[in-house]
């Protein structure tokens, strides 16, 4: 069966959406329900991969809707950065689904139908974000993503979960309605278009005061990029079940944020404009501060998921820095880091979830000696940590490398120091966990109360796959690199030129 590329693009968004109907209809039969989710994710991977081969061959896919909304329409267009994002998200959806089946059943969670349904909507909107052909479309799916993930955060229904959900929604909606919407409308009003254009949409003559303000509005408005002071939602979201934290709050949602930042910087402002705007530097240093502060806060967290959440905030800062450095290498590094960090962080979250299911431990201080009982999990955790820190043999090395080059290119030495410092901090807060798990022995074990076994098989399978992915990406980063360079080219510039 041969589908036209346009139809395939549409299907990437529709397949998860249709899966929702299937999931709701089969709510009484868990096996069927999860079967549908799995099928949908396999189909999605197939679709995204086929689209990838088209893009790789130099083609483009554009889907234009009639002009429903004056000045804008629901347009979709595949470009390399979106490809990275959608590839990562679709592959990891499959892995996460496998993982969640183990996790949710192992944990006897309630409302599982709602869980899978909202998950599918979230993925659908991620696809929408990835392939959005203009700012308007992107904004719409951005909001849908916020709303569809809210029930996932509040999943447990406890007071704590409700509070977390309130913070989550409060910050994400506040920033997006207050700043982002204003920025979008402001852009439409000043530039007369919301289409993504290589080199930016603004006229040369547009006052820098306006564009500078818009940039600030955008960077703050994209709350999902978790730039301080709008980062609180991410730790708050950690009340969610772990698969949610893993896929959505380490990959989909936050990456949607930084993805939007990159897109806006490249296609709405353009590098040339970014370089001269007075607000760019301010925001750049704000992002740098976010990186350092979040790392410092992470060190003081004893709850594993909270530590990972702050780590995510810090890593997101990297990508924003990459975008705001306004150099080719910076963008390249930022774009690659989307993929690299995704694999690394999802591994870590999978491990955290596995530990929780198997041993009901959530605090790092309780995890001494755990490596003996859960060796596979802990090895995977180690690999994931390496990738986040940026050490070989894990994929994170490459993206961090380009980011530092970017800082050097723009001669912003302070930023370079921040990046180096932060890597050291990463080591300080991530590596002790596996080290402690393997090298320090637990007192209870000596008393002979060993009851802890490895996590459910499905979960183990999933986390092994992603950990393996981290290593593969070190030795074989070409696809990511190619796509990131293609992104630069599509945006009207290229690396090394």
């Amino acid at each position: 069966m041969q589908l036209s590329p346009e139809l395939m693009l549409l299907m990437t968004i529709l397949v998860p959406a249709l899966a929702v109907i299937g999931i709701l209809a089969t709510s009484h039969s868990p096996n069927l329900r999860e079967g549908i989710t799995l099928t949908a994710s396999v189909i999605l991977i197939y679709l995204v991969s086929s689209l990838y081969s088209i893009i790789k061959g130099g083609g483009t896919v554009i889907l234009l809707s009639p002009d429903l909304f004056p000045g804008s329409a629901l347009n979709f267009e595949i470009e390399p950065l979106g490809m990275i994002f959608s590839l990562v998200a679709s592959y990891l959806w499959l892995v996460t689904t496998v993982y969640s089946i183990g996790y949710m059943r192992g944990h006897h969670e309630k409302n599982q139908t709602r869980f899978y349904a909202c998950f599918a909507i979230a993925i659908s909107s991620v696809m929408g974000i990835a392939y959005a052909g203009n700012l308007f479309t992107l904004f719409i799916f951005y909001e849908v993503l916020t709303l569809s993930t809210y029930p996932l955060v509040t999943h447990a229904g406890t007071e704590k979960a409700k509070h977390g959900g309130r913070v989550y929604l409060g910050i994400l909606l506040t920033t997006s309605i207050l700043f982002l919407l204003l920025a979008v409308i402001g852009t439409w009003y000043t530039a007369g278009t919301l289409d993504f254009k290589p080199g930016g949409v603004f006229d040369k003559s547009t006052s820098h005061v306006i564009t500078g303000t818009l940039l600030v509005l955008f960077i703050f408005g994209i709350g999902k990029a978790a730039i301080m002071p709008f980062h609180r939602w991410l730790p708050a979201a950690m009340v969610a079940p772990t698969p949610v934290s893993a896929l959505l709050h380490a990959v989909a949602v936050v990456k949607a944020g930084v993805f939007t930042v990159l897109k806006v910087c490249m296609y709405i402002f353009g590098l040339d404009l970014l370089k001269v705007l007075p607000t760019t530097d301010i925001l750049l240093y704000l992002a740098a501060a976010t990186v350092i502060i979040a790392s410092l806060v992470a060190m003081r967290q004893d709850n594993l998921k909270a530590r990972l959440a702050y780590s995510t905030i810090s890593q997101l800062g990297y990508i924003t820095i990459g975008a705001l450095l306004a150099t080719e290498a910076g963008i390249l590094g930022g774009a690659m880091h989307i993929g690299m960090h995704a694999f690394g962080k999802i591994t870590l979250f999978f491990c955290a979830g596995a530990i929780m299911v198997a041993s009901h431990k959530t605090e790092i201080s309780q995890m001494r000696g755990l490596g003996r009982q859960m060796p596979i999990t802990m090895i995977a955790f180690f690999i994931g940590s390496l990738s986040i820190i940026g050490l070989p043999p894990a994929g994170g090395t490459w993206s961090k490398w380009y980011l530092i080059i970017g800082a050097v290119d723009s001669e912003k030495w302070l930023i370079m120091i921040v990046l180096m410092m932060s890597s050291l901090l990463n080591i300080a807060y991530l590596l002790p966990i596996p080290i402690r798990a393997f090298l320090v022995s637990d007192e209870s074990e000596q008393k002979g109360e060993v009851t802890i076994k490895e996590a459910p098989v499905l979960s183990l399978l999933a986390l092994s796959v992603t950990a393996f992915g981290c290593i593969v990406l070190f030795f074989y980063p070409q696809p990511l690199f190619e796509l990131a360079s293609a992104f630069l080219e599509a945006a009207g510039t290229h690396y090394g030129g």
Partner: protein, 492 residues
Amino acid sequence: MIYHYPVLQVIIPLLGAPLCLFIRVPRLVGFFAVLVSSLSFLISCGLRQQVHLYGTIVYELGGWAAPWGIEYRIDQLNSYLLLLVSGISTIVLIAAQTSIKKELPENRHIFFYTSYLLCLTGLLGILATGDAFNVFVFLEISALSSYTMIALGTDRRALTASYQYLVMGTIGATFIIIGVGLMYMMTGTLNMYDLAQRLPEVYKSKTVLCAFGFFIVGVCLKLALFPLHLWLPNAYAFAPSIATAFLAATSTKVAVYLLIRYIFSVFGIDFVTTSLPLHDIFLVLGLIGIFATSISAIYQRNIKRIFAYSSVAQIGYMILGLAIGTELGLTATLLHLFNHALMKGTLFLAIGAVVYRIGSSQLNHFAGLGKKMPLTMAAIVAGGLSLIGVPLTVGFVSKWYLIVALLDKGWWPVAVLVLISSLLAVIYVWRVIEWIYFSQPRIILDDVREAPMSQLIPIWLLVLANLYFGVDTRLTVGVSKLAAQSLFGVTP
């Protein structure tokens, strides 16, 4: 027959109402009301088509040419609203069949439907007419019948709410006739079109200014502009759910129409801007109203009251659109007029379905309904999201246009305030959603089931309209633009 469409539009419910008394069988009366209302809806569709093709239609009642007789004058603006009012009315009536059976004792059914049709007649009459005094007569028809409908609510507070509304409404109506009288005094005519021709000669006079002042205050009482909104929350909270759905979706909208009609078609925008700081007043009242009532909405414990306060806040947005005083602003107002009717129709109908099942609209009684009545609750969520202005819903479209209009005028701070205010909507809508989905039931819900089909279908029709017009804005924006253009063009 096409020629008679303008008048048939109003006459069908007008004659339908007394016929209800002859039918005498409550069930049949219900069906009959649906029939009457849908007929009138079909006619309004035809009328809209006519206006689209041939422009303004004038119909002389009694065969006497205006200004001696009364004329119906259907143009872009009111054909659009006629469509809205008769459409919403039909949808609400379909849901009414079961809802009313539960909420009212049987011997009052016929009276309720009769009042409903009378109210519809009144609203359509106000929209269609081109005569200043005729407006007053039909205003009173709609007002008296809404007092009746509200007073039929089961809680005793419905009576006081209705009384309060009666006093406030009558003061408003009296102010309006004072205004009309003063206008008549200076020009000798009651026909709106004729007034617009003759008023410019006497623009300078204090009497016309005074007429304008009284008229505006009277209409603002009717449309519940802050701070003249005090009658509204209780009236909406204690009326039968169907009445609330109908009134919330249409009645204040018609009052807003009246305001627009007089400002633009009768007095003329030039007069309005030069003689009074009306725009500033509207701006300030609109903004304060939005904030004050949104905050009140947050603290309500009855879900009907939450959305009643929110209605007042939404009126604030419409007034804000008027305050901008540009074509874009007016377009935003008209859009929001239409969109808000859809949102509130959805919300109050869905709440009506809940009242039908659990007999209460207390917020805490909604706990746990997410599982018991998933489709109804999904409709409330959809309506709520629309109220916030989330993309893909109609609320987003109106907010978008309002902000564009504000930016166009250069009012950045106001645009920011509007956005902040929609965060208040997030808070009150989210309170509802948390109760619905993430709380333990406070009352026994064992025998609670999904709402009956006859209510679900109309509710979801409105939800789909909410979503459809949130994506495909060609119709709504197109018509609002045309109407706004014609209003700015018509002014002498």
